[in-house]
């Protein structure tokens, strides 16, 4: 990106003053090196978001920001309903509430490595992954509605999880004010056989070793111990969320003019929060959030079933579950006044700092866990929300490494078999139904996740707690 278009506020914060219809400034949090590597489209997109009605304070981009749809991936923006604020289907995206959860195993690396191949095979066999895979759970209309209203709470009532998990999921595992009536017949049909499926692309289930601790006290509170293993799951709301995104995006594109909204980019399609379409979308999107929360709870349950076959104490307590693609109603302090805002996070993680009322008691003094997925080879990070997170970007942080190479370029650079063999030589077993899919997700296709989390920490978004390296990776 051309840095001359930004005012440098600090080593990791860059501001664009409002111009050409922007109602607020745009701020990107990243190191100079990451900024230089970012696509110019990030500039266009983060400034376009600032043109939407009712935006509060600024349009933000996280250190892993890259070219998205309307919003940059890694975009954060909050809107005030009382000031004509909007909700944007493009600002949430197709994979509503795509997110990450990490379960503790309290198993040592040695225990996992002793059964590494068998465990990898069993996880791959038991957790449906990849295009065309189907879950075991068939939902009738009544069951589907209950799932859309109940989220992870519903999954636990059905026997797919444990009550104590709810404390470790945003909004206690259930987005309130979901409206299943706003979910179309097509979205419902698309989900019929997809409960408890991982999906494809960058979705995964990994068994990871905690190889480095940066913050002993917080790691201890989170239950992370160096040399022990965790299970991390990345997936979202599956076909139901994709269909809701598709349908409401179309309706908002066509209706924007009727609401007097001049869209700088059609993908920013939105509707006033206080409009019928806005209300319908919020009800449908919250249903999709619940679908994603239920889906991750079920996959966590499937992982527990597999671990119980191999280990006597395979309980896998849930450390935390975060969502990336959401619009949530939150209270934030703006110029000394607490206001209710609709916070869009597109490829960004909520990162409440220490003391936040929504955090479970055991985690409250340390801040919210922020789970950062890296590539199959580079590893992942656990971060924690900081005191400064709130004033930086409505308590938000990055969500991953971000791609540095297109899928097509990755398949030209690597073969899937080669990637699998290279990772095996590093002690990582990859299981996937598609070698081409593995090549597209090759570690070299992603940016350096360390640079991203270092920037997030330096910018006061979230601080480093632990670094995780994969031992097993089940890819969709």
């Amino acid at each position: 990106m051309d840095l001359s278009r930004f005012e440098k506020i600090s080593e990791t914060a860059w501001r664009v003053a409002p111009f050409g219809g922007m109602r607020a400034p745009a701020i990107v949090y990243a190191s100079e090196d990451l900024m230089k590597d970012m696509d110019d489209k990030v500039f266009d997109q983060v400034t376009n978001v600032a043109k939407l009605p009712g935006i509060v304070r600024a349009s933000y981009a996280m250190p892993d920001a890259h070219w998205g749809y309307g919003f940059p991936i890694g975009g954060v923006a909050a809107f005030d309903a009382d000031e004509g604020g909007v909700v944007s289907a493009g600002g949430v995206g197709f994979d509503v509430s795509c997110g990450v959860r990490t379960h503790l195993t309290h198993l040592t690396r040695g225990q996992v490595v002793s059964v590494q191949q068998e465990l990898a095979d069993a996880l791959f066999e038991h957790v449906p992954a990849g295009v065309g895979s189907e879950g075991e759970i068939a939902l009738d209309e009544q069951g589907l509605n209950a799932m859309l209203l109940g989220g992870a709470q519903w999954a636990i009532e059905q026997g797919f999880g444990r009550a104590e998990d709810l404390d470790r999921i945003e909004e206690s595992g259930c987005a309130s004010d979901a409206d299943p009536a706003a979910v179309s017949e097509h979205a419902r049909k698309r989900q019929r056989r997809e409960m408890g499926t991982l999906g494809s692309g960058n979705h995964y289930l990994e068994v990871q070793e905690v190889v480095e601790i940066f913050d002993e006290k917080t790691a201890a509170a989170y239950g992370l111990v160096k040399g022990e293993c965790v299970v991390t799951i990345h997936c979202g709301s599956r076909g139901l969320g994709h269909q809701i995104g598709t349908e409401y995006l179309r309706e908002m594109v066509i209706s924007a003019q009727n609401y007097g909204i001049d869209l700088p980019d059609r993908e920013l399609a939105c509707a006033p929060i206080k409009s019928e379409l806005g209300r319908q979308y919020l009800g449908a999107m919250r249903s999709a959030i619940n679908c994603a929360l239920a889906n991750r709870e079920i996959i966590g349950h499937l992982a527990r079933q597999v671990f119980a076959r191999f280990f006597e104490h395979g309980e896998l307590p849930l450390m935390f579950d975060v969502s990336h693609n959401t619009c949530k109603v939150e209270r934030h302090a703006i110029d000394g006044e607490t206001r209710q805002l609709f916070v869009h996070r597109k490829g960004a993680t909520r990162a409440f700092g220490p003391g936040h009322e929504s955090l479970p008691e055991a985690l409250r003094p340390y801040g919210q866990p922020v789970l950062i997925g890296g590539s199959m080879g580079a590893g992942s990070y656990v971060l924690a929300g900081m005191e400064t997170s709130e004033r930086q970007a409505f308590a938000s942080a990055c969500h991953g490494a971000g791609r540095r190479m297109s899928r097509h370029a990755a398949t030209r650079a690597w073969g899937g078999r080669q990637v699998v063999d290279d990772l095996r030589a590093q002690g990582i077993i990859v299981k996937s139904p598609s070698l081409r899919g593995v090549a597209e997700e090759a570690p070299g296709a992603y940016k350096d996740v360390r640079a991203v989390v270092d920037s997030a920490e330096a910018a006061g978004l979230a601080r480093k707690v632990a670094f995780l390296k994969p031992l097993i990776c089940v890819k969709g």
């Binding site: 991936i73 197709f94 295009v131 097509h186 494809s200 179309r250 993908e267 971000g402 899919g437 969709g476």
Partner: protein
């Protein structure tokens, strides 16, 4: 990546890069042919369309206020049919009159072993969306697919 079309003289498709996802672009002598090629480009993001047997035919009829919006609707209709029917498609026929599209997708049930699809198409987006007549007799239809 590109390939020749099945029956269109100017028909061909290609991918164009997007940071996280994939751009699909089809060329044809008519908007309908360009839509057919764009659909092939979308399938080629998932697998080699030539490996898909033409065992079943799915008919699709849609309309939209503009040609470019019709392209997004067409690709999203295919994504829906693939997901709901657990199918993959390898060939397409499209006729467009006055922003009404009558299309046909030919394909078969997914075989995870034989097709080994790389990614799932989540949705066709309005990003880089265009349906334009580049010169007389050559239409270009394109957008980015979220995968």
């Amino acid at each position: 990546m590109s390939a020749g079309g099945d029956h269109a003289v100017n028909g061909r498709w290609e991918h164009f890069p997007h940071d996280a996802d994939i751009g699909v672009r089809g060329y044809g002598a008519t908007p309908g042919e360009a839509f057919e090629q764009a659909a092939l480009a979308m399938m080629a993001a998932i697998l080699d369309p030539a490996t898909v047997r033409r065992e079943q035919t799915i008919d699709i009829a849609i309309e939209a206020p503009r040609l470019d919006l019709l392209l997004v609707d067409w690709l999203n209709a295919l994504i829906y049919e693939m997901a709901e029917r657990r199918m993959l498609f390898g060939a397409f026929e499209v006729k467009i009159e006055d922003h009404h599209l009558n299309g046909r997708a030919l394909g078969e049930a997914i075989s995870r072993a034989r097709h080994a699809p790389a990614v799932e198409a989540k949705g066709a987006t309005y990003t880089e969306l265009a349906c334009v007549e580049e010169r007389p007799g050559l239409w270009r239809a394109q957008c980015v697919i979220d995968v």
